[in-house]
């Protein structure tokens, strides 16, 4: 319990909670019109009393956009991680549980995929499918899956040797039952830690994809898209890049901190 109360934990969880809150509630209180409304006479204005975080090149209020962007960026990241779990979990489970030829083949495939840098995979898939949010989710999810599969497999290998698993097997439990009732619950904690960290990476990946023009489409605001749009105005209006950048930083920071704390709780060995 004491660990939970360290400053790091407090800040980390607070950040995540804040971002989550904004993501959930901001779109309710800030309607789309407000975030998309262009004030043509107030373009590229620095933060002031009227526009707390300034305006972008089309005169849109950056505060509104960055807050609404939270939902976009976060939902993309969460969906992507879910997809990577959907793909990676079964793969890792099967490989780790059955070992032998299946393990070899699957891991060979996974290792090959791991030779492609994550962003490169996501880029190519995105380019293949066309730029849109669902495609960005698929791209990032598929790109993260190999790594997750490896982690799952590692955990399964560790857990499979545990006495209670041996006991259950000796008692005649069928494979399916073993996997679902005994192995899966015991690998969940490190998987959750991994998922949290993946979430952080997914947000960075979405920012990167949108920065290269392959993610969110305008006029929707995602943080990556906002950073990309700011490129042309860096020297006259740096806040257009700093505002979304800070948003990404704080979110990822919070997630990383939380991930660290969770890892401390679930897996004391790693300290």
């Amino acid at each position: 319990m004491k660990r939970l109360l360290t400053i790091k934990a407090l800040i980390g969880f607070a950040l995540v909670a804040m971002v989550l809150g904004v993501a959930i509630f901001a779109p309710i209180f800030i309607p789309e019109e407000a975030a998309n409304r262009m004030h043509m006479t107030a373009r590229l204005k620095s933060p002031s009393g009227l526009y707390w975080l300034g305006t972008d090149q089309l005169g849109r209020d950056l505060l509104f956009r960055v807050m609404r962007g939270a939902r976009t960026s976060l939902s993309i990241a969460v969906s992507a991680v879910l997809i990577s779990l959907l793909l990676g979990l079964p793969l890792g489970l099967i490989a780790g549980f059955y070992r032998g030829a299946i393990d070899n083949v699957l891991m060979r495939l996974v290792d090959t995929l791991l030779s492609f840098p994550v962003l490169l995979l996501a880029l190519v898939i995105s380019a293949m499918l066309g730029p849109s949010i669902p495609n960005a989710i698929i791209a990032i999810g598929v790109a993260f899956a190999p790594f997750l599969a490896r982690v799952v497999r590692g955990e399964v290998l560790r857990v499979v040797q545990m006495p209670y698993v041996e006991a259950a097997r000796a008692a005649g439990a069928r494979d399916q039952r073993l996997i679902v009732r005994h192995i899966l619950p015991n690998i969940m904690p490190p998987i959750i830690v991994q998922a949290t960290i993946s979430l952080a990476f997914a947000i960075l990946a979405e920012a990167g994809l949108s920065f290269l023009g392959l993610g969110t489409q305008p006029p929707q605001s995602s943080w990556g898209l906002m950073i990309q749009a700011s490129r042309d105005y860096l020297d006259v209006a740096p806040w257009t890049a700093l505002v979304p950048g800070a948003a990404v930083a704080l979110t990822v920071l919070g997630l990383n901190m939380s991930g660290d704390i969770l890892r401390d709780i679930f897996d004391p060995r790693s300290k």
Partner: protein, 514 residues
């Protein structure tokens, strides 16, 4: 038609001075040109295929303007004048063109130009299998004869009024050494004032003065065209002195740059013109009322301000602004949301009933911004717009080739031969008619124009075409966009750089002070 008549025709159709709106700020008065120096030019686009026959990109053509010369060219009044041919004649029946070549023209590899090179170049362009892009210029060519080394006779199957003026474009009329086709993509060789030295792909291209240029050697020793696609980086490059000259100053910084006494600024229009396209195969857009309603939703002046920071001029006529086919009486429709709503309701697309997907290419960021601005106006009338950002490659393949789109936006570098402009874009068989426009009135008119000899009558026909396009709202013409060049005070001869077509640059008469 005699040659003299033909020249008069061209001039009348194209009008007097090549540009309206050629503005200079802080451009230093011309002193005596000096020889020497390396000009560093910050080019806004990357060059691609260096083969002049195969390249479709304005950026590469802009650079190759200095490497190649064509058989004829245009002066600043857009009259066709001799270039590599020292004279040319057209037969009375208009079917035979005789070109008398200029003696003593050398290519960059040292060889002298002969009729064989001209025949080779024309045939290479005519042959689709070489990947030549402008092959249709030579579609009516029946035979190319070379009775002697300095004479080329081109026989046509039928009258083709634009033929000669098309040859003034390097993409069609550039003359290259016979047999050099295979290396043109890697090391272009021509007869222009500069020869190609090297290209560091994506980074820069180096050109060097060709001392044996037929029109006298250029002043500059070398030109380095550095490809800097990021507008702010390009401007910074000019500011820090890294570059002598840049093109395409970012629209939002224009005021700032103009008011800085340190820089010479040249702006002109048109660089190109933009229009909004509606696919005539998309059911709602089959109805002229819906198309007009869309036109009424757009406030062109406001859009120009919003997307281009006012760097341009709205227009309803895409003709070259000072030409006689330019219809100055035609005015853009003003924004009228109420009327638009009424028209939409009448056509059965009341609020919430019309969904459109706007495909905008990221190759022109101001298209994406325009789409976002238009989205808000559309919303006011209950039209739901979704925006799809496409890379240039995707836009070309989806919208241009497959004609798979609903509403989009494009620009054209001004096609100053009106036949090329109006036929290709609005005739139902036109090569650029990706909006699937089928209007028998326009088809008739454009056909008639092709065989109409009298210049005033021809200009009049094209005005009728424009009126029809406007009345039926086949497309929504928006504006002419400004071109711009920013230069250090050390660059002289700025007023000679821009080619009459508004896009190409020629550095033959440019020099560096001190």
């Amino acid at each position: 038609m005699k040659r003299r008549d033909f020249l008069k025709t061209t001039a009348t159709l194209f009008g007097g001075a090549a540009f309206g709106g050629f503005q200079t700020t802080n451009v230093l008065a011309d002193d005596a040109p000096k020889k020497g120096g390396t000009l560093i030019w910050g080019h806004s686009e990357t060059t691609q295929n260096l083969d002049i026959h195969q390249t479709g990109t304005a950026s590469t053509v802009r650079l190759l303007q200095n490497v190649h010369n064509a058989i004829v060219t245009v002066d600043k009044n857009l009259n066709v004048i001799p270039s590599l041919a020292k004279g040319f004649e057209q037969s009375a029946d208009g079917l035979t063109y005789t070109f008398r070549l200029r003696p003593g023209v050398k290519f960059h590899d040292g060889k002298a130009m002969t009729a064989a090179d001209v025949k080779y170049s024309f045939e290479r362009c005519k042959n689709k299998d070489t990947g030549a892009v402008n092959f249709e210029v030579f579609n009516d060519v029946e035979a190319i004869d070379t009775p002697d080394d300095m004479t080329v006779i081109v026989k046509l199957k039928r009258i083709n009024a634009p033929f000669l003026s098309r040859l003034a474009e390097n993409g069609a009329g550039a003359i290259m050494p016979a047999g050099s086709g295979d290396i043109q993509g890697k090391t272009p060789i021509g007869a222009g004032p500069f020869k190609f030295i090297r290209r560091e792909f994506g980074h820069e291209v180096e050109l060097q003065r060709f001392d044996d240029y037929w029109d006298g050697p250029a002043y500059l020793d070398k030109i380095i065209s550095r490809e800097v696609t990021e507008p702010t980086v390009r401007l910074t490059g000019l500011r820090t002195g890294e570059m002598h000259l840049i093109n395409d100053i970012p629209a939002d910084r224009m005021k700032e740059v103009k008011s800085d006494p340190k820089f010479q600024v040249l702006t002109w229009f048109p660089l190109n013109w933009d229009f909004v396209n509606m696919n005539h195969d998309y059911p709602p857009f089959k109805d002229a009322r819906v198309r007009m309603a869309i036109d009424l939703l757009i406030d062109k002046e406001a859009l120009l301000q919003g997307a281009l920071w006012g760097e341009g001029r709205t227009t309803a006529s895409p003709s070259f602004p000072t030409s006689s086919s330019y219809d100055s009486a035609l005015k853009n429709r003003q924004q009228d949301i109420a009327k638009a709503k009424a028209l939409l309701a009448e056509a059965g697309y009341g609020p919430g009933k019309l969904d459109v997907v706007f495909k905008a290419t990221t190759n022109y960021p101001y298209h994406v911004e325009s789409a976002q601005i238009m989205l808000e106006w559309f919303k006011e009338a209950g039209v739901n717009m979704k925006i799809e950002q496409l890379t240039w490659a995707d836009w070309l393949s989806q919208v241009w080739v497959n004609k798979d789109f609903q509403i989009s936006m494009m620009n054209f570098f001004t096609l100053w031969e009106p036949d090329f402009l109006y036929y290709s874009l609005w005739n139902s068989t036109g090569a650029f008619n990706y909006r699937k426009i089928k209007d028998p009135v326009i088809d008739d008119l454009t056909q008639k124009a092709r065989v109409t000899i009298d210049p005033t009558a021809r200009a009049d026909i094209y005005k009728q075409v424009q009126q029809q396009v406007f009345d039926q709202t086949h497309d929504i013409i928006l504006w002419f966009r400004n071109g711009s060049i920013g230069a250090q005070p050390s660059v002289g001869g700025l007023d000679t750089i821009v080619h009459p077509n508004g896009s190409n640059f020629n550095f033959h008469k440019v020099w560096l002070r001190a």
